[in-house]
C-alpha cells in the first residue's frame, strides 16, 4: 500500500482544437422527423384514420337509416351546401352565437374589473360563480322562453349564462396569479386603474384568460345547438340545431350526420385555427406556455 502523491499530476494548458463539419454545433433534423414535429400533419393523419374507420364500419353495418357511411354523409352535405340551406342555417347559428359570446365577454369584463378592484366585488363574483357555474345553461331555457319568448333574445340569454361564469372565473383566477414582482414593476412606473389592468394584468394573465375564452366558446356552442334542438321547431329562421332536428323528423339520417359534421367542423376550426393562431402569437411566443 503506497500513498498516492496527489501533487505529482502535472498541470497543463491547451488551446481547443478546431472542430470539423461532423462536430458542428447544430445540424438539421432528418426530413420525416421535422414533418412529424408539425402538429398539423399529425392531426391530419389522425383525422384520416378516423374517417377511414367510419367508412369501413358503416359499410360493414350496411344500414343507412341508423348509420350512414361517410360518403353518403358527404353527399348529403354537398347537396345542402349547394342549395344554400346549410349555409343559411349555419350563418343564423353563428350570428346568434357571436352576439351571445360577445355580450357574455363584455359582462364578464365588468364583473372581473369589479372583482379585482374591490373586496366586495371579489366576494360577489365568487358567490355568483359558485351559484351559477354548475347550473346548466339549458336549464334556464324554459325561463328564458317565458321572459323573452321564442327567438334570438332567449338564445342570447342562455349563451350569455354559459359564457359569463366560465370566463369571469378564469380571468379572475389569472389576475390573482400574476406574480407580485410583475405587479410591482407595473406600479413602479405609476400605472393605476384601468391602465394597470389593460397594460399589465391582462397580458400577464393571458394564459388563464385564453383558457377561459376557449371554455366559454365551447359552452356557448353546445348550449346554442342544444337550445335550437329544443325549440328551433317554431322559429322562423332555424339554425343548425333545427336543421338536425328537422332531418331526424324526416328520417334523413345522412343529413343528421351532415349537420353534426358541420357542428364538429366549426368547433374544430375555431379551436385549432382561430385559438391556435392566437396562442401561437401570444402565450407561446412570450414563453408563458408551451
Amino acid at each position: 500500500m503506497t500513498a498516492i502523491d496527489l501533487s505529482a499530476r502535472p498541470e497543463f494548458e491547451r488551446t481547443p482544437a478546431e472542430i470539423g463539419a461532423e462536430g458542428a454545433v447544430e445540424r438539421p433534423l432528418p426530413l420525416w422527423e421535422r414533418a412529424w414535429n408539425s402538429a398539423a400533419l399529425r392531426r391530419a393523419v389522425l383525422l384520416t384514420l378516423l374517417a377511414l374507420t367510419w367508412e369501413l364500419y358503416a359499410r360493414i353495418v350496411n344500414n343507412p337509416l341508423l348509420f350512414p357511411t361517410l360518403s353518403e354523409t358527404l353527399e348529403a352535405l354537398a347537396r345542402d351546401l349547394q342549395n344554400g340551406i346549410l349555409i343559411q342555417r349555419t350563418s343564423t347559428s353563428l350570428h346568434v352565437l357571436l352576439l351571445g359570446y360577445a355580450s357574455g365577454l363584455a359582462i364578464a369584463a365588468v364583473f372581473t374589473t369589479l372583482a379585482v378592484s374591490t373586496r366586495v366585488g371579489t366576494d360577489l363574483l365568487a358567490t355568483l360563480t359558485a351559484m351559477f357555474n354548475p347550473l346548466p345553461a339549458i336549464a334556464l331555457l324554459p325561463l328564458a322562453l317565458i321572459w323573452f319568448g321564442l327567438g334570438v333574445p332567449s338564445l342570447v340569454f342562455v349563451i350569455i349564462h354559459s359564457v359569463l361564469w366560465a370566463v369571469a372565473l378564469n380571468t379572475h383566477t389569472g389576475f390573482r396569479a400574476v406574480p407580485e414582482t410583475l405587479r410591482m414593476t407595473g406600479r413602479n412606473v405609476g400605472l393605476t386603474g384601468i391602465r394597470y389592468v389593460a397594460l399589465l394584468l391582462i397580458p400577464a394573465a393571458f394564459p388563464a384568460i385564453l383558457a377561459g375564452l376557449k371554455i366559454g366558446w365551447a359552452f356557448a356552442w353546445r348550449t346554442l345547438i342544444a337550445a335550437e334542438l329544443v325549440f328551433g321547431a317554431s322559429a322562423r329562421q332555424g339554425g343548425l340545431g333545427w336543421h338536425i332536428f328537422e332531418a331526424r323528423a324526416q328520417l334523413e339520417t345522412a343529413t343528421v350526420f351532415a349537420g353534426l359534421l358541420v357542428v364538429i367542423v366549426i368547433g374544430l376550426v375555431v379551436e385549432s385555427v382561430i385559438f391556435r393562431v392566437i396562442e401561437a402569437r401570444t402565450v407561446n411566443r412570450w414563453g408563458m406556455q408551451r
Binding site: 406574480p179 414582482t181 410583475l182 410591482m184 414593476t185 406600479r187 413602479n188 412606473v189 405609476g190 400605472l191 391602465r195 397594460l199 399589465l200 397580458p203 400577464a204 393571458f206 401570444t282 411566443r285 412570450w286 414563453g287 408563458m288
Partner: protein, 274 residues
C-alpha cells in the same frame, strides 16, 4: 485611512459641506403585517444618500434592508419618521425611483427586449416616439444587448435578463436606481461580470443608486458608501466608505481589513445577543 478620514469629515461636518442629500431617511420605522402579526422591520433608521452615491444597504437577513428599499420605492409607507426624495416625502410608487428586482420575472414576458425597455418610457409618457426608441437602443448598446432587441425575455439567460432590467430602469433616467439584490440569483462568474459592468456604467453616467445586498464582498465592490444594519429589527450599526475598492484591488490588505471590520460589525452583535 483615507476612507476613514472622509467618513469622519462627512459625519462631523454634516451635510452642509457636502452636496444636498438626494434621499434622506430620518427616524425611519417600518412595519409590515402578516396575517397573524405586525412585524417591525426597521427601527429609527437615519441615512442620507448623496447624488451619484452608490449607497449599499448591508445586513443579515431580517435586518429590513429590502423593506427600506420597498419604502423608498413607495410600496411600504413608514409608520414613524420621514423618508424624502429631493425634499419631497415619498407617498406612492413612481418612475422617478426605478426598481430592479432580484427575480427574473420582473420583465414583461409579452414584450421583446426593446419593448420592455420602452414600456416605462411610453407608459409614463416621459419619452415618446423616436426619442424613446433611440434612448432604448442607446442604453441596450451600453449594456451589450444591442443585438438582442427583438428577442423575447424567455429566450435570454439570467444575466441578460438582469441587463435588460437594468437598462429598462436606466433608460428612464430616474433620480435614484433601487436595486434589490439584483445579482443574488446569478452564478458567481456572471455576478462578477455584472458588477464590473454596473460599475463601468456608473463611470459613464454617474447615476445614484441604492443597492441592497447580503454579500460583504459585493457591498465593498459595488458601493461607495455602506450602511451596515443590525437584525431584528434593523437599526443602523455603521456607515462606512468603500469608494476606493474595486475588482482590481480585491486581493489587497485594505480590502481584507474593511471586509473583516464589516464582518465583526455584523456578527459580534449576534454573539453578544446569544
Amino acid at each position: 485611512m483615507a476612507a476613514g478620514a472622509i467618513a469622519v469629515v462627512r459625519t462631523a461636518a454634516g451635510v452642509q459641506e457636502m452636496a444636498a442629500p438626494l434621499l434622506s431617511a430620518r427616524g425611519l420605522t417600518l412595519q409590515y403585517r402578516t396575517p397573524q402579526h405586525i412585524v417591525t422591520a426597521t427601527w429609527r433608521v437615519d441615512f442620507d444618500v448623496l447624488p451619484s452615491d452608490r449607497f449599499v444597504l448591508l445586513g443579515p437577513s431580517g435586518c429590513g434592508k429590502s423593506s427600506i428599499l420597498k419604502a423608498v420605492g413607495g410600496f411600504l409607507p413608514p409608520v414613524e419618521g420621514t423618508l424624502t426624495i429631493n425634499g419631497r416625502p415619498i407617498v406612492r410608487p413612481g418612475p422617478d425611483r426605478m426598481m430592479v428586482f432580484q427575480e427574473f420575472e420582473q420583465l414583461l414576458p409579452w414584450r421583446t427586449v426593446l419593448g420592455n425597455v420602452l414600456f416605462p418610457m411610453r407608459a409614463t409618457g416621459r419619452f415618446r416616439g423616436r426619442e424613446a426608441a433611440e434612448r432604448a437602443r442607446d442604453i441596450l448598446d451600453r449594456v451589450g444587448l444591442g443585438k438582442f432587441t427583438d428577442v423575447y425575455p424567455h429566450m435570454l439567460s439570467g444575466g441578460m435578463k438582469m441587463r435588460v432590467a437594468i437598462a429598462r430602469a436606466m433608460a428612464m433616467q430616474p433620480d435614484i436606481l433601487l436595486m434589490d439584490e439584483p445579482f443574488a440569483a446569478l452564478d458567481a462568474l456572471t455576478r462578477r461580470k455584472m458588477q464590473e459592468e454596473l460599475l463601468a456604467l456608473w463611470d459613464q453616467l454617474r447615476f445614484t443608486m441604492l443597492f441592497v445586498t447580503h454579500s460583504i464582498e459585493e457591498a465593498i465592490l459595488v458601493g461607495s458608501r455602506i450602511l451596515v444594519l443590525s437584525p431584528h429589527p434593523g437599526r443602523v450599526r455603521a456607515e462606512l466608505n468603500a469608494d476606493a475598492f474595486h475588482h482590481g484591488n480585491i486581493d489587497q490588505a485594505a480590502f481584507g481589513h474593511l471586509s473583516k471590520r464589516i464582518h465583526r460589525l455584523l456578527f459580534e452583535d449576534a454573539k453578544v445577543a446569544q
